[in-house]
Symmetry: C2
Subunit: 168 residues, 2 copies
């Protein structure tokens, strides 16, 4: 592999360097706002948000892992910590004794509602409101193209297909 790969040209390098910078900077910005205002990491917030939108506010660990792009070990640790804080509860899945369901508690639901406005505000300030409407559409298309490579099995697609541009 990679024996005969040409280096990036100037335009490609310009785009790549910017993407690297964003990937490096954005998590820190999201994390620090959420930690400061709600005591949550961005990953924890995202997991709680996924639960909050699920039927019964309940998901199997595997589904939650796919929607948040977490390995099962990582998710297991995170959910255990969230459970210790009373934001989530786990119970065995009735249909499959191997599986575990994670359900948002009332406190967890309250936490999501409490954290959401500040988070959305951060997202707007740093990303969405910095772009024109057509740039937003371009970013969606670019994101689809990249994710087809990064996430070919579409494990996270349960999430992003739901927010597709063409509803039907």
């Amino acid at each position: 592999m990679a024996v005969d790969t040409p280096w990036l040209d100037e335009e490609q390098l310009a785009a790549w360097v910017r993407l690297v910078a964003i990937v490096e900077l954005l998590p820190g910005v999201l994390d620090s706002q959420l930690r400061r205002d709600a005591g949550l990491t961005h990953f924890e917030y995202y997991a709680l948000a996924m639960l909050s939108e699920a039927p019964q506010r309940t998901l199997r660990m595997t589904s939650l892992g796919m929607q948040t792009n977490a390995s099962l070990p990582r998710l297991s640790h995170v959910v255990r910590r969230l459970e210790e804080r009373g934001l989530v509860e786990r119970f065995p899945c009735p249909d499959d004794a191997r599986a575990t369901n994670a359900r948002l508690t009332e406190a967890g639901w309250a936490k999501v509602r409490e954290a959401a406005p500040g988070h959305v505000s951060t997202v707007r300030q740093n990303v969405v409101d910095a772009l024109t409407a057509s740039q937003v559409a371009q970013l969606t298309a670019i994101g689809d193209a990249i994710l087809e490579k990064l996430d070919p099995h579409g494990t996270m697609s349960a999430t992003y297909n739901r927010y597709d541009r063409s509803p039907e």
Copy 2:
């Protein structure tokens, strides 16, 4: 703050979800390829690459920290580990006794050259070659707009301005 922030509309949410997915997935892809093929994290590779392009292959810790978007504590740990592996050497800056210079060793230079092709190949496969030429240009513009918010002081701009689209 954020008292009256409207929620994202459908187009905005579609773009945001995709960006989150990329930010979550891309570091893992870059790290695992580089770890497997060169025994480096992406951050270590990036730091070595910045040194390799600097005059004398030497940079002050502060400069390197800005170009890689690392806090000084983080950089200090990373450079110490790289030094223990013989890829980098540190020496006091002659002009300013407070400052430390980091210089790429021969082994470090060899390591960068060894690691670069596989890394570029990964970048192409997962990002650059998935995009059309106009999407690459769009991504550059979008990146600039976002980074103006994420990195207003342009600490990382030393890097990305160098690869600007309009050389003169």
